[in-house]
């Protein structure tokens, strides 16, 4: 369509065009306002010392320490959540795009994934709390003296975080699998490979950038989620491990993440230390933006598949 002068348009159309411009510019304005404001506050309040000192439960802000533990908490939870999500996520995507039999079951699973994606994280947190408070799951958190299972730990939070990442991984993997032309599969069958071998040797390696994209998006969502952390991670300021053993004890223990640290240090929480909240929020924003735009790097590095040349 060639560029035509809008002066001949009816007034109502020109108003519509004006609104469209306004909406587009408004989005740019809001986004730049958020980024610039957080950048200014981050530069103003972020000190390297904050990143490397443990938080202390002190009212005096010069003594309350930094956010090393929340930073580690975010890292542990993100890795744990994606690790738990990636195998089921890829399996579901492969099944949906390569098998999907019987038809009704595939539709049910497909809509089921949508339901998981649409479930508010606060509801997932409640569900996680109920599940992990059962006697059966006692090894994943710790048991209080009265015999009640505490139900809050990195395991519990990580398992629910996996549900947040799952739909993103399924979606990205499915898209990647569906972008592979049929004749690639047929060529593999023609060479005598079974369907299972085709999936493992041909389809999954080709879909790897898609899987990576979904994982990066999932990590961004996990790092940014607050509700599950507030309810399921026990909200202890420092990482407090349960039992013995180096890694397992941390995972069974409680902790906090950057999101819950920001929440607790905002006027809504108990800490009421806006400077610390801004500094932590700035770091959190950097992490989330990096994860989201890592997706670009992944897809840019993907050279055009051989069958397109």
């Amino acid at each position: 369509m060639g560029r035509e002068s809008t002066s001949s348009w009816p007034l109502i159309d020109r108003i519509g065009l004006g609104l469209a411009w306004a909406a587009g510019l408004l989005l740019c304005l809001v986004a730049s306002a958020i980024v610039i404001y957080m950048l200014v506050r981050g530069v103003q309040f972020l000190r390297p010392g904050l990143l490397f000192s443990h938080p202390q439960p002190e009212l005096d802000q010069t003594k309350s320490g930094g956010f090393l533990d929340p930073l580690l908490g975010t890292f542990i939870l993100t890795v744990l959540g994606t690790t738990l999500a990636i195998l089921p996520g890829v399996s579901i995507a492969v099944w949906l795009s390569e098998y999907a039999r019987p038809f009704w079951l595939a539709r049910a699973v497909e809509s089921g994934v949508e339901v998981v994606a649409g479930t508010p994280s606060i509801v997932l947190a409640i569900f996680g709390l109920i599940i992990f408070s059962q006697r059966l799951f006692a090894p994943f958190s710790f048991t209080a003296e009265g015999g009640a299972v505490f139900g809050r730990s990195f395991f519990a939070a990580g398992a629910m975080m996996a549900l947040i990442a799952l739909p993103l991984i399924v979606g990205a993997t499915r898209e990647a699998l569906q972008a592979i032309p049929r004749h690639v599969r047929e060529a593999s069958y023609a060479l005598g490979k079974t369907k299972a071998a085709t999936i493992r040797r041909v389809l999954l390696p080709t879909a790897r950038p898609g899987i990576a994209t979904g994982t990066a998006l999932g990590m961004g969502r996990i790092a940014g989620d607050t509700a599950i952390v507030v309810i399921l991670l026990g909200a202890s300021l420092q990482l407090s491990s349960q039992g013995s053993g180096p890694i397992l004890s941390t995972l069974r223990g409680t902790g906090s993440t950057l999101t819950s640290y920001v929440y607790n240090n905002s006027p809504a929480g108990e800490g009421n230390a806006p400077e610390k909240a801004y500094a932590a929020a700035f770091v959190l924003l950097l992490i989330v933006i990096t994860l989201n735009f890592a997706v670009d790097l992944i897809s840019r590095r993907r050279s055009a598949p051989a069958w397109n040349t």
Partner: protein, 342 residues
């Protein structure tokens, strides 16, 4: 038998490893993958059952009037919490309408506002934006979608709420309702505006995909008849994309319903039902949706009576979100005809 028991692990592990490492037959691959896929359905069923079983006492004690109005809901929640100490058994009396009303107001307000912005912005991105601006808008939308809700909440509570409280609400307005509720700036309007910013990118992504997948022949045919570019977009593309717009609105509603952290920070956290009859004051009145209530009272989740009441809130949210997700999924189905599933 005994020799087998004496050395179970190496033999068992070896045979297990052999079965796993051997190339899988198609049959087995399909079964294993299918079983994993079905675990999603089991999980959802488990979620519904567990949450409802835990929430049942709260519903059964109040019946349908659970959803009704009457009394101060914060007072009722406190009474429920304190009923463990009185020794007269648990109290479950609750009329949750103010919280439901707060949820409805924030959700509907944000979805309506956000849909308008997303629709115009989508038309702009697809048809009217200059190339350089389009290249800017793509990361902008992704950025807005990626910012964690706690950061929106932080900016809201530290910047917007004080601004509204100090500059937009006059002293006279504060005094006029001082005997009912304090106007601090943490209000319905702030909650709705920030929620709008959070859900607009979700709708925008779906609508842009749908507008791009409208067959070119349709729009070119209209343009060839001398229809101007705005009319082509508005009457052909936007209409063709109607299922996507419905799906976008429905999915954004599900997201808005479940937003907890941001709303608990900026909505005032008072179980108060804003009254539309108050005129402009209505927009400045505090409220608190269901999800934010759960976060605010998270300490009490393990204490039976209030915990069960909070589970009941989660159950209501779960059912609404499930229906909305399914409706959004159904609304997207006709789109697959054009090859724009997303």
């Amino acid at each position: 038998m005994t020799t087998k028991v004496a050395q179970p692990s190496p033999g068992l592990l070896d045979s297990l490893w052999e079965t796993v490492s051997k190339p899988w037959t198609d049959k087995r691959a399909e079964l294993v993958l299918g079983a994993l896929a079905c675990s999603v359905l089991v999980l959802i069923a488990g979620m519904v059952i567990f949450v409802f079983v835990k929430a049942w006492p709260s519903f059964s004690h109040n019946g349908l009037s659970w959803f009704g109005s009457g009394g101060n809901v914060d007072q009722q929640l406190d009474d429920i919490f304190n009923s463990t100490k009185t020794g007269h058994g648990y109290d479950y009396h609750l009329r949750a309408w103010p919280l439901l009303w707060g949820t409805i107001l924030t959700t509907v307000g944000a979805v309506v506002l956000g849909l308008a912005v997303a629709l115009f912005a989508a038309v702009f991105i697809v048809e009217f934006a200059p190339d350089w601006l389009r290249r800017v808008l793509d990361p902008v939308v992704r950025l807005l979608a990626a910012v964690p809700s706690v950061i929106y909440g932080l900016i809201g509570i530290l910047v917007i709420v004080p601004f509204v409280g100090n500059h937009l609400i006059s002293a006279g307005r504060k005094e006029s309702v001082a005997y009912v509720v304090q106007l601090t700036g943490a209000s319905l309007i702030v909650a709705v505006l920030i929620l709008t910013v959070m859900i607009t990118p979700i709708m925008l992504a779906i609508i842009v995909d749908a507008l791009r997948s409208v067959p070119r022949g349709w729009t070119e045919g209209a343009a060839a008849l001398g229809v101007n570019r705005w009319r082509v977009m508005w009457t052909i593309s936007v209409r063709a994309a109607r299922p996507a717009i419905v799906a976008a609105a429905v999915l954004a509603t599900a997201r808005a319903l479940g937003e907890a952290i941001m709303l608990s920070m900026v909505s005032g956290s008072i179980g108060f039902a804003p009254n539309p009859l108050d005129g402009i004051t209505f927009f400045f009145e505090p409220t608190r949706p269901l999800a934010a209530t759960i976060v605010d009272r998270a300490d009490a989740l393990s204490a039976p009576p209030l915990g069960q009441t909070l589970y009941a809130f989660a159950a209501v949210l779960l059912v609404s979100a499930m229906f909305l997700s399914l409706a959004g999924w159904l609304a997207k189905q006709p789109l697959k005809k054009y090859g724009a599933g997303a």
